[in-house]
């Protein structure tokens, strides 16, 4: 009994010692990302930039890799002027993306980071031809186009550059939010969109095209697209966007809508756009 007592006491004491060590360390919880309600009606650019700052440091998990040397596993974009760097990279021979300006470059570097890999930061053994960075619009990060815009706004503003990103349109955002929160079924194969607005939001047309103005985001504004193009031309511009690119614009429109949209969705969008006569 004496031996049992001694050995049990020893074992218990050792176990408690290990537990004690855990209490010497910082007690930090790793919260899952939570959906935040943003009142787009009263959203200012300062709020939008602050949102981008928050996403960069939390939900986006960007700072896991983008840290100052020697700790970082990716360029220290927080410590660098990304707008100035974007211009340099766009002019670099190794750049194989489709962006034509700083904003588009930053967006592209988030959703398709392999288009330009900063020297020394490529995947091991790829000779900087492959990026180890995940696509931020896909799981597990899964930022929405609006959240990506917010991060771009913050990256532009933190070094005193002009913020070129436009604030999200409240009406469109409501559509995006309702589509995204559709019963929390983010992983399911989505049901076809019921309306043209829903389809435009689902395929993120509104990220690059202003629907109610001639403002240029990435592509031209669509407020008068129905006056400029007939239905066949609209159809072609969606299904084969690179066949005839609007003058002065980069060929940045995704060419794979034909394989993503249902026929009904495509026709709804065409009908909707055809009615936009300015």
């Amino acid at each position: 009994m004496n031996v049992l007592l001694k050995t049990l006491t020893f074992s218990l004491a050792l176990t408690l010692l290990f537990t004690f060590v855990t209490y010497l360390l910082p007690q930090v919880k790793g919260e899952a990302p939570v959906e935040k309600n943003v009142d787009l009606g009263s959203l200012t650019m300062e709020d939008f930039i602050a949102l981008g700052d928050d996403i960069f440091h939390n939900k986006g998990t960007c700072t896991l890799c983008h840290k100052p040397a020697p700790l970082g596993r990716a360029p220290d974009i927080e410590g660098e002027n990304m707008v100035a760097l974007a211009e340099e990279r766009l002019a670099d021979d190794r750049y194989n993306g489709e962006a034509r300006d700083g904003e588009a470059y930053i967006r592209e570097s988030m959703v398709d980071p392999g288009r330009y890999v900063v020297a020394g930061w490529g995947k091991k053994g790829s000779n900087d031809s492959e990026s180890p960075m995940p696509h931020v619009d896909k799981p597990p990060i899964q930022l929405s186009p609006m959240e990506i815009d917010a991060v771009i706004a913050w990256l532009q503003s933190k070094d005193g550059n002009v913020v070129t990103v436009v604030l999200p349109d409240p009406e469109v955002a409501v559509e995006v939010a309702s589509a995204a929160s559709d019963g929390g079924d983010a992983g399911k194969v989505p049901a076809p969109a019921a309306t043209a607005e829903e389809a435009l939001a689902r395929y993120a047309c509104v990220s690059c095209h202003a629907l109610d103005s001639r403002n240029v985001l990435v592509g031209p504004g669509l407020v008068d697209v129905g006056a400029r193009l007939d239905k066949d031309e609209l159809r072609q511009s969606i299904l084969d966007p690179n066949a005839d690119v609007a003058e002065g614009f980069p060929p940045a429109m995704p060419p794979d809508f034909a394989s993503k949209m249902t026929v009904k969705e495509l026709e709804m969008i065409i009908e909707y756009l055809a009615e936009k006569k300015g």
Binding site: T7, F18, P26, G184
Partner: protein
């Protein structure tokens, strides 16, 4: 007569083997049938007649529209469900805590009962080759003390399954959908394992000598084969949750069950768990031997349990030495699969846990070394090496302190100003991985040196080239230490992260070279060596506490690393395809994790005590009460 008996047993054995193989193939083919059922071949087609029966002279019956019907029946693969918070049943206490305790207890006992038959088979084989019955008896005793563990594993496994189905119905539904009939193969393997276990254990003395011994060894091999298959199948579920394969980006099954199983992390986890289980099993049975050693004053029994404790420690430490390398491979594969996941573990919120890991591994290495040094008192020849023990102890302690040095500290403003920044100018650099890589490799080399000295302590080399061999060995140790320090310092502090990580592979390689070279030199040098006398049982009582420290630290370490492995998925049930929307979808604080780990460690300790008690109970027999004169007994 004996031969006849054997051929009868052998015939039965081969019939069983044939049946086993048939069932295994049937089981393996089930998943592919299940997948096919979801796809092109539907039930109607499978039961449709392959030929037509009609009267002679009658025209054939036209088969209408079958191809069109087939086209219309293209079924979209089912995506992973995305349950909302209300879909998770609330039983009043944390569902995760319930599953955590049950899963960990199941894993502890699962690891134990998978590991013990592995080294029991090895010890039995040593007994066959040496002809020494002590090995056979010890192997039998190891099986005896772990026998109840099989039932305890099954009890916790069943409870875990029920808890998962009740508390996480959508998740379990999805997992069943993905793995299909593979889970039935898993269940089937339990029948095989139980069959081989009971025949192996209860047939020990019936199949003890001659050809029957080989039948017994084959049964042990089949027991291990079924146990390992169980482990591999269960591992595929865990690794699918971490790095899903065979499904598309929304979790719909697009591959067959083999493609689902062989994800990028499956083999690294298989290897890591296989080695760790052996170390863990050795440590647990070592505690049994230590307890028995301390409980008896009989010199013969003390000698027996001292030897048993030594063998257990030998198994535990030998398995433990390559474990960091298997862990390194696993982490490298995690980084290759998802850099984000890798950094979450090593550089994000979970990084602090590696300080606790350092404390635990340090405890294991210090306890293992202390036991070896204490064990040197068994032989008179150990005096030669006593001076080196101080150097080894110094290296171990300094390396341990470097390993536990945190990179950043929670400091007040006054403390930061006193320190001149958030990092101490000397201790700060010791807090990052290059310093820790140097420390852990030096600790492994020092531990191997202790082991080597212990093995040498009862021998005197008789070969003529012994001085040259010793000089060569010293040269290898010195060069290895210099190389490890150089690689760590140069690539760790003067180049970027990519080279830093790359150099750690070379460090690990250097440590392996020392181990392999040391074993080769010693095996050649001590061939036909003069053996000095050893006195089993001549070891201080305090040394036995090292044999208790080992399983406690191993158990804690397993629970801690299991927690890290599971937490790197963050808020996903199945990473990137099925979100965890339960109330427990956050990573808890280290203190909370520490409490949970301590709880499961204590529960495990109590269950192990029960297991040992039951094992001893079978050998006890109550004395018949003497009849009381003139009354009732």
């Amino acid at each position: 007569m004996k031969q006849k008996k054997f051929s009868h047993a052998g015939g039965l054995f081969f019939r069983m083997l044939r049946l086993f193989v048939m069932l295994l193939f049937a089981g393996v083919s089930l998943p592919s049938l299940a997948v096919a059922d979801d796809g092109a071949v539907n039930t109607q087609e499978r039961i449709a007649p392959v030929a037509e029966v009609r009267l002679q002279g009658q025209p054939p019956v036209e088969m209408v529209a079958a191809p069109a019907q087939k086209k219309a029946q293209v079924v979209e693969p089912e995506a992973a469900p995305q349950p909302s918070r209300k879909d998770y049943p609330n039983v009043g206490i944390s569902s995760r805590a319930i599953v955590w305790v049950l899963a960990q207890m199941h894993l502890f006992f699962g690891a134990l009962v998978l590991a013990v038959p592995l080294f029991v088979l090895m010890i039995e084989l040593v007994g066959v080759f040496t002809g020494d019955d002590r090995y056979d008896d010890m192997a039998h005793e190891f099986m005896k003390i772990s026998l109840t563990g099989f039932s305890i594993t099954a009890i916790f496994g069943g409870s875990l399954a029920l808890a998962l189905f009740m508390l996480y119905p959508d998740f379990m539904g999805y997992m069943m959908h993905v793995f299909g009939a593979q889970v039935l193969v898993y269940a089937l393997m339990f029948f095989f394992e139980s069959f081989f276990l009971y025949v192996y254990y209860y047939g020990w003395n019936a199949f003890r000598y001659g050809n029957l011994k080989w039948v017994h060894l084959t049964l042990g091999l089949l027991l291990n084969a079924s146990g390992l298959t169980i482990m591999l199948l269960a591992n595929s579920w865990a690794t699918f949750m971490m790095a899903p394969s065979g499904v598309n980006e929304v979790g719909a099954v697009v591959g067959n069950v083999w493609e689902i199983m062989k994800g990028p992390l499956w083999n690294p986890i298989n290897l890591h768990r296989f080695i760790a289980n052996i170390g863990f099993g050795g440590a647990v049975v070592g505690a049994y031997a230590a307890f028995k050693f301390l409980s008896t004053g009989d010199p013969a029994k003390r000698a027996h349990y001292d030897w048993m404790g030594y063998t257990s420690n030998f198994i535990a430490i030998l398995a433990f030495l390559p474990l960091p390398f298997a862990g390194y491979w696993l982490m490298a594969e995690i980084y290759a699969y998802s850099q984000q996941m890798g950094i979450t573990a090593m550089g994000g919120i979970l990084a602090w846990l590696f300080i606790v890991q350092a404390v635990l591994i340090g405890t294991i290495l210090l306890a293992g070394n202390f036991y070896l040094w204490s064990g040197m008192s068994r032989t008179d020849g150990s005096e030669r090496y006593k001076g080196l023990i101080k150097i080894i102890a110094f290296v171990l302690v300094v390396s341990f302190l470097i390993w536990v040095t945190p990179h950043t500290l929670i400091l007040s403003a006054a403390e930061i100003s006193l320190l001149g920044g958030s990092h101490h100018h000397i201790l700060g650099p010791l807090g990052i991985m290059p310093a820790k890589n140097i420390a852990v490799n030096l600790m492994l080399i020092a531990t191997f040196l202790s082991f080597q000295l212990y093995r040498r302590s009862d021998k005197v080399a008789t070969v003529g080239w012994a001085p040259l061999g010793n000089a060569l060995l010293i040269g290898v140790y010195v060069a290895a230490v210099a190389n490890i320090v150089f690689l760590g310092v140069y690539f760790g502090y003067f180049t970027n992260t990519v080279y830093k990580v790359g150099s750690s592979v070379a460090q690990v390689g250097t440590t392996l070279v020392v181990i392999v070279f040391g074993l080769v030199i010693d095996s050649l040098m001590f061939r036909n060596a003069r053996v000095l006398s050893s006195h089993w049982g001549r070891i201080p009582d305090r040394s036995q506490y090292a044999l208790f420290a080992l399983p406690i630290a191993f158990t804690w370490l397993m629970a801690l690393m299991g927690y890290v492995r599971s937490s790197v998925k963050t808020h996903w049930h199945v990473y990137t395809v099925m979100k965890d929307n339960s109330p427990d979808n956050f990573i808890p604080t280290i203190g909370y994790a520490g409490n949970m780990i301590t709880l499961v460690t204590i529960l495990f300790l109590l269950c192990v005590l029960f297991m040992f008690w039951v094992a001893n109970l079978s050998g006890s027999r109550q004395a018949k009460p003497e009849p009381v004169v003139g009354g009732v007994a």
